[in-house]
Symmetry: C2
Subunit: 409 residues, 2 copies
């Protein structure tokens, strides 16, 4: 079943608003074993006519967002009725709901709002408890149009309607078996390296689809197919990347770490220079992190490294802040100045300024230590813009902690 | 000049990755007086062929992202060459750059990467300093195709390339006059409140277009039109929201603050509980922040508030961590335990758990103090998901610091 998405809304094309619709639908549909074959964004107004016409022959379902509002720009309803030759009639129940919606807020609906109660012949009303415009389901007309779901644009109206009313109908319409899938999160290996290693081994596996998504040091490998095919490919990944696999799920690394530490009854403290708090912030994005994370230090200046972590001034003068000895002293000082079981420290050059021939922008030392355990320090060079540097370094630091907790380092 | 955007990438349709391309292009083009007429997302693989074919007759420029990578999914280059009947040849300079890119990282390119050095006949190479795949500009072929810009998918590669290489070419190709525009960033006032106040005063100004974009406590008001119209509307905003205007530009608040502190030769320290490092990380996203930010404390647990900031245990026991007295003690302790001129502290309930009737999820106290100045504490309630709470609180904290630096509090 081919499903297309059409999002109407000039604000989505003017640069200020990011279109989250495709990601939302994509995620919800994926879990039903369905896929989006195309997503299109068009301005408010006339373009909806052409976009729908062009899409009709290409698919079995179209999800349309926007254009159901009360202004002169909102013409989705009328356009669909016109394209399909369907009469529009005013639905009394919808109109009553709209009236009540306004009265509850101490206001009156106007004539623009009356248009929102018009329903094309044969369409089903999709109730919208969070706004004035109901959605509409226009069943496929053989030889003419695919199934159409018309929904409001604002996510807080769209998402409940999609989950409560559209998904049940899609399940009925779709004969798709929900294909099993498995996601591997792999850290510390580049996408092309992973491909180079596994493709010769899995490209001939029957009933298997796979894809990669690489984001700043993190690669998601998604396997889709029969249980057998998935397991075959999984075995290859586990063999080739045994220590690099963060999780066989979509769980973010920070959540994997918080869960692992919680299970072990252990805590972590952080000492950050160049990442400026991003490591701690990432860990605390996870609900429940307060069980395992109690304190973090941001020692952005050398004096702070000395005052808060006990890094000797002489060491900073001799080796410089961005060095292996200082990373070691920072992480050990972090552990000493906390009650934690493990500590992470990073020191590096985020750029764009501050680099030198010996220590170019992107140089970073990442250290992990544990109470009663050894300190390990890694040197990396993440050459890119400042923000990407911080994100890559954060991911590498969390991954080094993971390897420590797994006993790999 | 009709401009369409085609984004390739199955990950954009599977729910994993949000498509920020349209917003980015929309924003950049807007400033050039240009508009996107349609944006389309398609999966990796074959669909690029049909999507391009269908778009050719509809517009004068197509911006294509993705499909230039080193895997078997990446076929944009070959598809365009095939559609237009252009031969592909290996570009020596591009290949040398790719080789050096890998060598610098201690790796070797493989045969997959060789495809990335192939250039269609007549195309101009758009250098990519941030990745292996160069972009390509394929000039319009009369009667056959519009101007095509093929660019890499990852934003950190795409954005510099677009700004440095595509925009100059678009300027030459476009005859559009570049209309003046001005952006106001306003904090602490809701979008509908701003609209309610200024619309009566500016809706009849001639030659003026305006729009709002509200994101988690930050409202951008964009004015476009003649210089006179913009100045008229600007005067209204300055009058009505004099203390709420962060900047008359698109400069993010953290950069405004870093610049102001740098100018004043002053420094800031942070003490964070519920934001877990996000405030410090946001400040240190700004290049040059090391001049004004030297240390930050993340006191996630009560013991850390006592150990690092001197918050009395008795006070924590009596009022609870999320309270006005504790916020005050945190910010004053932060100042005392640093050499900074100003300090920020936040303590709150990020959720989803931890709330109560008296202190629901979203409750937060934000404090600012200055050496030789008074402490001010604000109470807010940002009810939403955990991540949005951290972002709203961070913005509110930075704004309170701004108001202190401006002398408004």
């Amino acid at each position: 079943m081919r499903i297309e998405v059409i999002n109407t809304g000039t604000e989505l094309l003017l640069g200020k608003v990011i279109n989250t619709h495709a990601a939302f639908f994509g995620d919800e549909l994926f879990k039903l074993g369905l896929r989006i074959t195309r997503q299109t964004t068009i301005p408010d107004g006339e373009d909806i006519h052409r976009a729908l016409e062009e899409a009709f022959p290409r698919c079995e379902v179209i999800l349309v967002t926007g254009g159901l509002g009360p202004t002169s720009d909102d013409i989705t309803r009328e356009t669909v009725a016109g394209l399909l030759g369907l009469a529009l009639h005013k639905d009394d129940a919808v109109w009553e709901f709209i009236r009540q919606f306004f009265l509850k807020r101490g206001r009156e609906p106007n004539s623009w709002n009356e248009r929102q109660a018009m329903v094309p012949e044969g369409a089903e009303v999709l109730h919208n408890p969070n706004g004035t415009a109901p959605g509409l389901f226009v069943p496929a007309i053989e030889g003419k149009s695919p199934h159409l779901f018309l929904m409001p644009g604002p996510p807080r109206e769209l998402r409940p309607m999609f989950r409560d009313q559209v998904i049940p109908r899609l399940r009925k319409l779709s004969a798709a078996p929900i294909l099993p899938w498995r996601n591997f999160k792999i850290y510390g290996v580049g996408e092309s390296n992973i491909a180079e290693v596994i493709e010769p081994r899995i490209q001939d596996v029957e009933n298997l689809e796979y894809g990669y998504c690489c984001r700043l040091g993190e690669v998601d490998v998604r396997l889709i197919g029969t249980e057998t095919a998935i397991e075959t490919a999984s075995e290859v990944l586990r063999e080739e990347f045994s220590e690099d696999i963060v999780t066989e799920s979509e769980t973010p690394i920070e959540q994997v770490l918080i869960e692992r530490l919680t299970e072990a009854g252990q805590t972590i403290a952080t000492a950050e220079s160049c990442t400026g708090g991003l490591i701690a912030s990432t860990l605390t994005d996870v609900s429940g992190s307060s069980a395992v994370f109690h304190r973090g230090f941001i020692t952005y200046a050398n004096q702070a490294k000395t005052d808060l972590l006990g890094v000797p001034e002489a060491m900073l003068a001799e080796y410089g802040a961005v060095s292996e000895p200082v990373a070691r002293a920072m992480v050990e000082g972090c552990l000493e100045n906390s009650h934690a079981d493990h500590a992470i420290a990073v020191t590096g050059i985020a750029g764009p300024t501050g680099g030198s021939e010996a220590k170019p922008v992107g140089t970073v030392y990442i250290a992990v230590t544990s109470r009663g355990g050894e300190t390990v320090v890694r040197h990396e060079c993440f050459t890119s813009d400042r923000i990407s540097f911080k994100q890559r370094t954060t991911r590498a630091a969390l991954d080094l902690l993971r390897r420590r907790l797994c006993g790999f380092v």
